[in-house]
Amino acid sequence: MSMKRAVREVFGFFFSIGRRTGKTRVFALLALIPFALAVVGRIFLHGRTGDMAAVFTEILMVFFLQFYIVILSLFYGTSVTAEEVEGRTLSYLITRPIPKPAIVLGKYSAYTLLMTLMVAVSLALSYFVLNASRLAQPSLYLTFLRYLGVLVLGILAYTAFFAFLGAFLKKAIIVGLIFGFGWENVIQYFPGSTQNFSLVHYLKSLLPYRPAGMGSGGRGVALLLFRLEPTPPLVAVLMLAAIAGAFLALACWVFRTKEYLYEE
């Protein structure tokens, strides 16, 4: 079977399984949080468009960018290989006439699509609820698409990285948690090029509107003062694509060469 066909078949198999797992149900429920916040914001800030935009920015930054896509990618990314080993189902896949990298690529594609759907629905609900008074403005939709594009890029890059961790390490979740909620947060407070060593830096560089305190012209360089020195958008996109591609290739290589043993 050709690699392309194998990836497609693995994608179909795992998209079908992925839709109905308990994990997907939990994360889909979690996706309702921003919608609930948006409804509350809409009720209390009725008529104050500027305040509602600020609420959405907070939802985007705190919930989607720094929590939801990270936790989704962590759990789905590491599970590309780890769930097969922990669930002892790997034998069913690697004794089939398909190249091993197709398993990684197919599962990665299936899970990133699942995550994208969850994020898209959640983002759309919260965004349009908070901007219900401006639905006639075309720019509203373009901004939404840009937000969604940033989040999808984030999902692709984070999931590739976590898929590599899952293929390489036994306790990938712990390392992933430290990376996703430790390193990625702390490094944002560092000035200069240090920020370039995080994924979230490139994602924030792509946002059309930056929240207060994120401007590039900040005067302070104090350690705890949040400060973004954005990368040009095209470079940011290329970097995220390169990171996703590199870690996905590494995950495939590790999965092809490594032997996975079930815990007794």
Binding site: M1, R96, P99
Partner: protein, 308 residues
């Protein structure tokens, strides 16, 4: 006859633990039984010949082709793993059809093959139920169905009969024999001699990662018969029971277990002893609580062979 599966000086270890030790073996078409206690190295061998592991030393080939990272080879191999693991949220049909997607079949053929495999293992009625709701026997059968659905030339079955009731075992044994009758190759592992005996006369004895003996079942039986059997009888008066067997030629040795209620007998003539035991118990008017034979598992035979 040409070997279908060939292992040459195959060794595999897990850290400091030796899984398989310098195994050289040719497996021909027909059914070959792999017999050994738990942890003997049966599953390790099966994982090596299905490319789930790579050997530390030695080579393993199927039809002369290397196994590790050779996916094309798996078009002709069906593998039924030992572990009771599934994609629990799938139905039996989805599970089989889903795995058949990896063989280049058109959708109609996938459905047809999945239905046929489920029909063979008599799961058609339950094909649309989630696997998580299947009984142990049904799970074992659906696992077998996924191994045969693509009509493989070589079937590798790791403890396929474990967890099945006697009727289920009989049906599966019949299916495996049918497979053999079609001229294919079947490698089946078990730690229960009668199960292997019901399937084939060609047996490989494996213990502690080493091939101890190869041959037909009568030869293996001979080995077992040559080894004294231990039989424990717990009764109301073990001393009175022992008195009945003093001087009996069928008995080599008698001891009392530390609990003071169990007589442990060593005999070469197990059937004779059982025959006389009934009479002795009746004559002495004893109450027998339990009769166990540690030798009913193969461990003692293997220990005997290793010691030898």
């Amino acid at each position: 006859m040409t070997a279908v599966i060939t292992a040459v000086n195959l060794s595999k270890w897990y850290g400091n633990v030796l899984g398989l030790n310098d195994v050289s073996l040719d497996i021909e078409s027909g059914i070959t039984g792999f017999l050994g206690p738990n942890g003997a190295g049966k599953s390790t061998f099966m994982k090596l010949i299905t490319g789930q592991m790579k050997p530390n030393i030695g080579t393993v080939t199927v039809r002369g082709r290397k196994v590790w990272n050779n996916p094309a080879l798996f078009r002709g191999i069906g593998f039924c793993p030992e572990q009771d693991a599934f994609y629990e949220d799938m139905t039996g049909f989805e599970f089989i059809a889903g795995l058949l997607r990896f063989y280049d079949y058109p959708p109609a053929e996938i459905r047809e093959r999945a239905a046929r495999a489920l029909d063979i293992v008599e799961l058609v009625k339950d094909k649309d139920r989630l696997i998580r709701g299947y009984s142990r026997g049904m799970r074992q059968r659906v696992k077998f169905a996924q191994a045969i659905a693509h009509d493989p030339e070589i079937l590798i079955l790791d403890e396929p009969l474990s967890g099945l009731d006697p009727l289920g075992k009989r049906k599966l044994i019949r299916l495996i024999r049918d497979f053999r009758n079609q001229g294919r190759t079947v490698l089946v592992s078990s730690h229960v001699l009668p199960e292997i005996e019901a399937l084939t006369s060609r047996v490989v004895l494996i213990h502690q990662g080493k091939i101890l003996a190869q041959g037909d079942v009568p030869y293996i039986r001979e080995l077992i018969e040559a080894h004294p059997h231990m039989i424990s009888v717990r009764s109301s008066d073990p001393r009175a029971l022992a008195a009945r067997f003093v001087g009996d030629r069928a008995i080599q040795k008698m001891t009392f277990a530390p609990d003071g209620r169990t007589l442990v007998v060593e005999t070469h003539k197990r059937d004779e002893f059982y025959g006389r035991l009934t009479g002795a118990v009746l004559e002495a008017g004893l109450e027998v609580e339990e009769i166990t034979s540690p030798d009913d598992n193969l461990q003692a035979v293997f220990e005997y062979l290793v010691g030898k």
